[in-house]
Amino acid sequence: MPSSLALTAIIGAPLLGFFMTIVWSRAAAVVASLTSMVVLVAAVFLAVSVSAHGAVLTSLGGWDAPLGIELAADGLSVMFMIVSGAIVLVVGAYAQHEFVHPGTETRSGFAFWPLMLVLLAALNGIFVSRDFFNLYVCFELLTLSAVAMVTLNGKTESITAALRYLLFALLGSILYLLGAVLLYAQFGSLDMGVIGQSVSSSGAEILAAGLMTAGLALKTALFPFHGWLPPAHSGAPPPASAMLSSLVPKASYFITIRLWFDVMPELAGNPLTLALGGLGGAAILYGSLQAIVQTRLKMVVAYSTVAQLGYLFIVFPLAGGDSAAQPWSAGAWTGGMLHALSHALAKSAMFLCAGLFIISARTDDLEALRGIAQTMPMTAFAFTLAAISLLGLPPSGGFIAKYLMLTSAFASGGWIWAFLILAGGLLAALYLYRPVRIMLSLPKQPGQPFKPISRWWQVAPLVLALGAVFLGIGSNEPYALLQIGRPVAAETGL
């Protein structure tokens, strides 16, 4: 009972906060903080309950599937919810400096808070939903709030970027919806559990799964559908970018994983895993190379997202690759999930750092940031820590993730995947070294071209970056949690 209450709170609280911030925008920042704290507490409570008693399942309205909608929280959803809650909490604290203006309400000061909270609600809704149509509604909630966030600064480029994003996302949604419709036509149900039990490899299922995967890949910005991501993520205000880049693509990825590993692993096969893995590999190489040649910090960070999202899709060919020698199971799958989580923390930290740099230097042109570490050593340090996690260097969460994935790659003879993972790490070193070096260099002319930033404000990115590191040192708990309710296919492979 209490755990289903927590499941309620995790969606209900941010929705309530959404309403409150609309009518009571004066106190929006406080409401947002309280709300995300409630969400975080509920998520942690769920984590404890899930580790003690296994996955939590609840039927809304007392109507069981297939008639009603069921929500379920297993280790995977709980981990994603904790990380999302933490990121939104920190981003909210950061944004108090940017979106709270004393006196009369402003446009962005009004809009940011409800959008942030409804984004959180949508994310949590996605992480616990078991119903394919409900997921569609959640995705639209997510997309609309994300697109609106991109426009917050009102610049022409941001509007253009938001439009491009919206078009891609809508196409993704509609393909996904068609898939869901076909599933209902075939099974008379939209519930993952019901469908998962009766998969029969019919044409309807294959087409549906293909359409949903394509739609989700569009929303995850998998290469070659990535074109919308860099302008959108670099055009949004930094706190928004932090959430857009770290969490929003993960939601669609999360459902891709659910779809293939939980619901229809029988349908997957080499063509699918090779295609997804191959596109993921291409994303790593392409995204990294693009990041190397960018001249603006936010563009570097945004292209890095394209590359890092690529890793997530290498999980498909690697899953099940562990040999008998490994004392753990489902290494690649767990590694992929850990990568998603640590990337979320590191990437949000980076965007917040970029935001502080922009406030201090009034631009994110890389050359203009020369020497900024002298004014903001803490932020530069946080950026470097986040970079370490993205590179997959120890002791960060990114390292454990890569270690697990690489072990599977070697154990299963997947040399090409191992190569891609390693090459991605070295390329990341190339594109992240440049900004770090520029920040640490001495300024060209003496004197302080940079506006000083309060120390407390600088704590926000540092907390997130440390979180990414902690995910590596303290990886055992997350690892164990991720195993609860883990799909069989995560261990046996697709």
């Binding site: 309205g61 076909l182 036509a185 019919s202």
Partner: protein
Amino acid sequence: MIDSLFDLVLCALIIFVAFAAVSGRDLFTAIVFFIVYGLMVAIAWLRLEAIDVALAEAAIGAGLTGVLLLGAYGRFKNIDAARMGSWVPLPVLIVIALAATGLSAAVGVVLIALDPNGLGLIPAVNANIAQSGVFNPVTAVLLNFRAYDTLLESIVLVVALVGVWTLADNSAWGQRVGKTQSVRANGVLQSFGRTLPPIGLMIGIYFVWAGSSQPGGAFQGGTILAAVGLLSAMAGLFPPPRVNDARLRLSVIAGPILFLAVAIAGTAWGGMFVLPADLAYGLILAIEIVLALSIAITLMLLVLGPPEMTETPQ
């Protein structure tokens, strides 16, 4: 036989009109054909015995969407022909055409292969409708069996509204929404705007109320109410509201809030969204009425668009 012939003709017409809407010569023609298309699809829904959907399609799909598109078209006046856009290059066009055809064919093949006796959830709905509190199965699904979806859907509308408002100029924040209309006092539009609202209100409320037992419901009723409100605003009966008007914001979220509150209250009866059978009818009706009003206002505001600085007080 006649039935089938009618269906065939209707479907052919739908496809033809859709083709015209997608590939029509100019934008205006395309939009007009799109509205016609929506109405014809509504007829198709009637043929599929989905009267609720037919109402929603006519009111929202054809009506409101059409109004939105026409409104945007009106603002494209200053764009010269060269920047109005055209088709993508021919090779790309061919690829797209092939892909789209392939998808249609695949869906068609899948449909033909479907079990022709698939019942979906008809038995489940019939078995449980008695406990749902309402007699219209569609309303039962929307407000009880899958009330969660409906709650989120009503929130999607509000998010869209926040998104639309975000597109205002910074300086226009706090102004009245939309462009100011100039209406001739006592002109024909104004008298029309005066005549219609009472009737429109009556029809809208009727739809909401009827929803529990007959086709209709919050979304259809709300759309009609929104139309009435828009017309009245256009006729200058009342000035468009300001974005920072607290009562306006409260009215936009009142419906979703009540819905969420009832959903949370359900935990007292056994879980989120649980409606006890004896209270279900009353609760659903209450939600529907408040929701319809909120939806009406939200839709109206969506059509009016973000505040614009056209009425600077001198």
